[in-house]
Symmetry: C2
Subunit: 344 residues, 2 copies
């Protein structure tokens, strides 16, 4: 690439017959003391020369990079996942409003092995990190427990530690879905959950199980299946559940992606949704509307969670707060994938 020698603050100072300091003061709006005449002259020169302060030099001085990192788990094409994509969109929006830049990292073996999650801070790449999709196996996040590096878990939490988080109430989500299916009249109910090591998945399942129990309906181990958080997994799990108990009338699925997979395989195995089997998802992703049938699902406000997490991170970075522990409410979104069970 052509090496364009950039204009620097010295050039501006020289060209406008002012000193470095004066130029710097004017540019940083600390210019109460500067005569408006000088100010005008400097600003004109800046304009004429097309001067732009180097972000790197400013960073060296301020010891701030102005960047935050978004850390996503290593799943297949992580950024193509609507769930993480939605969070990233939200985070970018907040960051943009606050004047921060956003960088992307994938928490793969190499990243964690070389302790990049700490290096990002120590080498001044970033001022803060938002961690997404953290599981109870991801012990590396505990390095953030001392609060020395600004970080927040987005839409997860880990039991028994002092990590910052902003999340939805997944226990409630499970309970709401459970009660909804019960009210429709279902009694033979199964659940497809996400990974065992994901805290939100555990809480979702607990909320769901507890809600059923309140009405005397038990969720047996054979009525639980892991959907691996993928469409394929959801599809396979639904078939496994139906095979094990063909009398099932409803399935609650831990996220919409798996629910879409489940509906797909149920229909391919000649079962009608919702007439034969009701399906309720969780998340309310954009695609939920375009399923056939449109998906009834628990709406989790992940866009808001992303925006909030990002704003809190900035407050953490700027020392305005010390801890973040926020849980946002969820609600049911009724569409057409769940109805009352057929009379046997």
């Amino acid at each position: 690439m052509a090496k364009r020698k950039a204009v620097n603050i010295k050039d501006v100072a020289r060209e406008s017959n002012a000193s470095l300091t004066t130029v710097s003061l004017v540019l940083n709006k600390r210019d109460e003391r500067i005569s408006s005449e000088t100010r005008e002259r400097i600003l004109a020169t800046v304009d004429r020369l097309g001067y732009r302060p180097s972000r790197i030099a400013q960073g060296l001085q301020s010891q701030r990079s102005g960047f935050i990192a978004i850390l996503v788990p290593q799943i297949r094409h992580a950024f193509a996942d609507v769930y993480f994509g939605e969070l990233i969109s939200a985070i970018h929006e907040s960051a943009n409003e606050a004047g921060y830049k956003v960088m992307l990292e994938v928490a793969n073996a190499q990243f964690i092995g070389s302790r990049q999650h700490l290096e990002l801070f120590d080498r001044h790449y970033v001022d803060g990190i938002l961690c997404m999709g953290i599981t109870n196996n991801d012990d590396y996040v505990c390095d953030f427990e001392d609060g020395a590096r600004a970080s927040i878990l987005v839409n997860t939490s880990r039991p028994g530690n002092r990590l910052n988080y902003v999340r939805c109430n997944y226990r409630d989500a499970g309970a709401i879905a459970g009660r909804y299916l019960l009210e429709l009249g279902h009694r033979r109910i199964a659940m497809i959950h996400g990974a065992r090591e994901v805290q939100t998945s555990i809480e979702l399942q607990q909320g769901f199980t507890d809600a059923l129990k309140e009405s005397g309906v038990k969720l047996l181990p054979r009525q639980l299946e892991d959907g691996l958080y993928t469409e394929e997994g959801g599809a396979a799990a639904a078939l496994a559940l139906m095979k094990r108990d063909p009398s099932l009338t409803a399935i609650f699925v831990g996220n919409d992606k798996m629910a879409i997979g489940a509906i797909s395989s149920l229909k391919q195995s000649r079962r009608r949704v919702p007439q034969d089997v009701s399906v309720v998802g969780c998340d309310d992703i954009h695609q939920a509307v375009f399923c056939d049938p449109p998906l009834t699902t628990v709406h989790t406000p992940i866009f808001d969670v992303g925006k909030t997490a990002c704003c809190r991170l900035f407050e953490l970075i700027e020392g305005k707060i010390k801890r973040v522990e926020e849980t946002h409410p969820v609600r049911m979104t009724v569409r057409q994938s769940a109805v009352a069970p057929r009379q046997p």
Copy 2:
């Protein structure tokens, strides 16, 4: 945030009884001249102190940020779009392998208005930019024509200029889809295209139109509808087309997102896909498999395009090449959303 005074190279020099230079040389593997004893001593100290060179200081010195920016258009929750997400995943993978960091930008009015696409370079935020979803209205990209700033258009191009691009062959894509539908026996065919100002959409339509024309089938203006690149748009467009000409037997849709919307609305209006209407998409996104019916679509290798574009960008940045103009081949992926038309 607690201000942790970071260990710097001076500390290492002092603690290991060596000079700044020596430490720097060792760390940068320019240490042929350093005695292995000194080297060991320094490396041990680095380890003990947990020293990490500041990326910002290195950047100030090298005048390189080590970052590239991904620029996406301002659509609703852009990062939650699987198409852009797939490209981002690919780019991140390549960048990671090459030791570059990735930052995210949205080309909204504010961004373009304040000429951030140039500022990113001029303020040393980035060494290069990958532009995604560029339309023929996005005149600002012409600022990159002089080649002074490393940039590549990803999976688009603009006619009549000297911008770098890596893309798929959309003209071929249109032709392949057209010939496929003709071979199945369709003659009453319509198309839902993306935005008029998107070059790839124009080429797709041309390829499709030309292929039909070769077999004496005309695509009239009334058989064309804009699907706005959204599910909703695709859904509305399909209904509009069917209303205008209920005898249609096939629709080619400019991307899978719109195709999924189209299938959804066709089914809701009591038309069977593919028995009554065949639908062919374009892109072959991951979700295409989980539609009902699974989507027959033109496979465009966008992951490869993303990876290649990123690698080329680095070659551009490092001055190894001057220009990039690459077009990747596409192919048909047959699933179940298109079959021969029913005999009238």
